[in-house]
Amino acid sequence: MERKRLKILFFFVVIYCCAIPPSLYMTSVYRATIPFQDIIDRLRTRELERQEVHVRIVGVGEFNVLSGMHLLHYLHMLSDISCANAKSDNQAVCVQFDVIANVPQGVDTEQWDRALRRAEDVIGVGAEREIGSGEEARRDDDLGRVLADIMPSHNGAYTIVWAHSKHANTGNEFAVGTVGQYRHGWLVSQGNLDEEKAKEVAVHIDRLTSVITGAKHMRTTGEMVESTLPLATAYRVSYMLWNEACALEWDFPEIFEGYLAGLFDRLSDIADYSHESQVLHYVPMLQEPVRTSDGRAGYREEDLPFVYPTTLLSNDFTGFRTTINLVGYVPADRSLHVLRDEDRVARTDSFLMPQIGGLTFMPAPASAAGGGCRRAPSQAEKAHLGVSFLQQIRLLHNLDDFGENQKVLTSGIRSLRVIRLAVSDVSLWERDWLIRSRTVEYRARALDNIRALVFMLAEFQNIVIPDSIRDDVMGALRFLDEVSEAVQEGRLDDAVRHAKWALRAAEEANFDEKMLSQLYFPTEHRIAVFVPLLLPALFPVVGKLFSEFRHVRAKRA
């Protein structure tokens, strides 16, 4: 009997001893290994390596060795200032000027001479120029191709062709610089090329360089460059044609291929874009237009945010994809304009709806043939929509708005008028600038996401960390390493791609539905649940154990 009691007692003791470890083990929190301390140490270093941009100055025309030396001297000074400023202002871009006086290494002399003559021809040294003309654009295109052939440039190297002529017609008021669609620009100077003139030319070259490289736009210490668009690695572009009545259809693929495809091709490394289009009929504006004294109808600029129906605009944010809405509005029976004052009509009938896209008022259409309701757009209407959408996309991406294709940079020295030859949707130098700024923004945002996630996971020890979260975090860090490497080597395309992937991985981890700390059982709660279950049953077992022990001792005694 005694042995039987002991066996039963021993049975329960073993049960408890076997049960407790599995209970604790099965309720332990699974946390994939993430090196929190390493990551935190690493996140202290937030600055992106400073990018060096090389600008080659190629001189053509009537200048002598002495003036060339003066120019070189001032350019070196400006280069030192630029890099010193870049360091102190935490800018990402430091410009190094190289003045090419001789034939570049590896380039055939005859080819070089041909290139210089072509440059003179383009610039029209000694001849009349039609600044900003189509012919000038064509010649610039030729020059760009020639330069690209003989001096292949990778991202981070630009060419400025400087031409000097005692007789060139650059206009009376401003010096003129020109930028085209490649990675080059050109500057024409005139007059007596003394030391003072060389200094002025050096400053103009520096200013033209700042336009091409976007040097002033960059920051490295996580201070984000403000974009008009919300920052995202993917965008859904929604094109809408709103008809006040039922007037116009559109052949969207033709408009897209004609005006927008090239732009999105060039931006494809920077973000992912998807496109969709729709046509809506019987969509009135929310307010009646006002009339000017000459009978034109329109909306005041300050009223614009209130006139269009925002409910029709998509704001889909699922999957970290931001929507850009581009709207063409076709009024029923009278053209609509944007009014600056009571009577003054704005230069365009197109405006940005900040953060969400842009809207363009189309001219009131002629009625459809045969008195029908709908008709296809004319070539002019397609062009109106296409270029408006193009310009809106450019501005939404913070690409520089060259008003009337030119901008004036003023300073103490004679102002510089920079003309952008409108030969393309986005120039390679603009793309470079966008890539640089997006690399910085993506990187900073990815770091913010990783920091927020790591901070939360380190603080809450009971949050389950599945392997997918770990993989995303480590993947994001690896991509960020590759960003630094690519930036150092001047591979801007790789840098922005990896920065994009880093941000995507970091956001997917940080915004994962499982990363809600309040879903998890704190450690002390496990004890609070299991102790009340096990402890009451343990008392009689332990008590009996002691009783048996005393009984056995007494018997032996």
Binding site: D272, P354, Q392, E513, L516, Q518
Partner: protein, 379 residues
């Protein structure tokens, strides 16, 4: 007390974790100083929550619906409002005014109607859903209409009405929302850049205990209807409805907001001055640097970002015929269930995986234990 859900009000992080968290806080604070001026205010969002169930908590739903009506009137569109209503008082069988909700005895204004868009109703009003909305951590199937899509330029109003106590609020009579939960969520929002400024307006008993500590979260402002140890009282009982229909502080706040328009320059100082002149049974508590000078419409209204008119549109020629490649859509790799999307040229090597304990193993241990005990005891 609460039943179900999370029972405790405290968690004790292990020493190592606490030390790490402290280090991270100090370091994060130092680095956070790298940001310059706050972002430009571009839009407004409102999260309006009534946490109470049952007919006799009619006033909490009326509080929230009144706030909903006011923010809509001042310009926040429905697409930017997330409305949580735990109890459908409008259609409650006890409601003599079926389909209608009033916040005063005169029944001059029906707060409920076909234009009211309730985003989370009934059983959907949970602590988890509320915290998911704040932190943005939703399952993929949650539609965008139920998400807070705010960003660094957003001013967010979070309004909570219900029963509460010292550092907690009751949700649905079955859960508790703790002030630590709210603080954690708001801190995460701040680190994620989900708001420019956030006003947390709490209308409960001991509402001030729900506000995070001042200065803990950058950009956070607080307005509470009662201090610690105080109750928050109803304003008016409606004999026809049979219950109280609105709370004091909410009533007087909305009464003041009714007098302003979308371009008003009235500030929180004006509001608190107005509240201090009313017969309130509790003390209104505010927190946050510079709250007094902030405009009311910065949170209760909407700021439409100004439109930018294009200065010119370039005259570009039409491009040559379409490119050889067909189609214009960017191809995205399909996101399959459970498979995380990776770029095609990713060089991330696969990592070794430690599988978690499987249930079958646990069941095997549970079965073997008594057998083992029997064997040992027989020896």
């Amino acid at each position: 007390g609460a039943s179900g859900g999370r029972p405790g009000a405290w968690r004790a992080a292990p020493m190592a974790g606490a030390a790490l968290a402290l280090a991270a806080l100090v370091w994060a604070g130092a680095l956070a100083g790298g940001a310059g001026a706050p972002p430009v205010h571009t839009n407004n969002w409102a999260v309006l929550v009534s946490t109470s169930k049952f007919w006799f908590n009619y006033r909490h739903a009326a509080n929230t619906l009144s706030m909903y009506r006011t923010v809509r009137r001042l310009g926040i569109p429905d697409s930017n409002i997330l409305l949580f209503l735990s109890e459908d008082v409008a259609c409650n069988p006890r409601n003599v005014f079926q389909g209608q909700v009033f916040n005063d005895r005169e029944h001059g204004l029906d707060l409920y109607g076909p234009e009211v868009e309730v985003d989370y109703r009934g059983a959907e009003v949970t602590v988890e859903n509320f915290l998911r909305v704040l932190t943005g951590r939703h399952p993929a199937e949650v539609p965008q209409s139920k998400r807070l899509l705010s960003g660094p330029g957003s001013n967010v109003l979070v309004y909570l009405a219900g029963h509460g106590g010292d550092t907690f609020m009751k949700v649905q009579d079955s859960e508790i929302l703790l002030n630590t939960d709210v603080s954690d969520a708001l801190a995460q929002m701040e680190s994620q850049g989900r708001f420019r400024e956030l006003l947390l307006f709490v209308e409960t008993c001991e509402a001030a205990t729900m506000l995070p500590r001042e200065g803990q979260i950058r950009g956070l402002l607080g307005l509470a209807s009662s201090a610690k140890g105080e109750k928050s009282w109803s304003y008016q009982h409606d004999p026809r409805v049979g219950v109280s229909v609105i709370d004091q502080v909410t009533y007087h706040t909305l009464d003041f907001l009714e007098s302003i328009g979308t371009d008003s320059r009235a500030t929180f100082q004006d509001l608190t001055r107005h509240l201090s002149g009313q017969k309130l049974s509790s003390a209104v508590v505010t927190s946050g640097s510079g709250l007094a000078q902030k405009r009311l419409v910065d949170f209760f209204g909407a700021v439409p970002a100004p439109a930018s008119v294009l200065t010119h549109v370039p005259a570009l020629p039409v491009r040559p015929p379409p490119r050889p490649q067909p189609g214009t859509e960017q191809e995205e790799p399909e996101e399959k269930e459970g498979v995380r999307k990776q770029p095609s040229s990713s060089r991330v090597p696969p990592l070794a995986v430690t599988p978690p304990v499987r249930l079958e193993h646990a069941a095997a241990v549970a079965l073997l234990a008594p057998i083992l005990a029997l064997v040992l005891s027989a020896m």
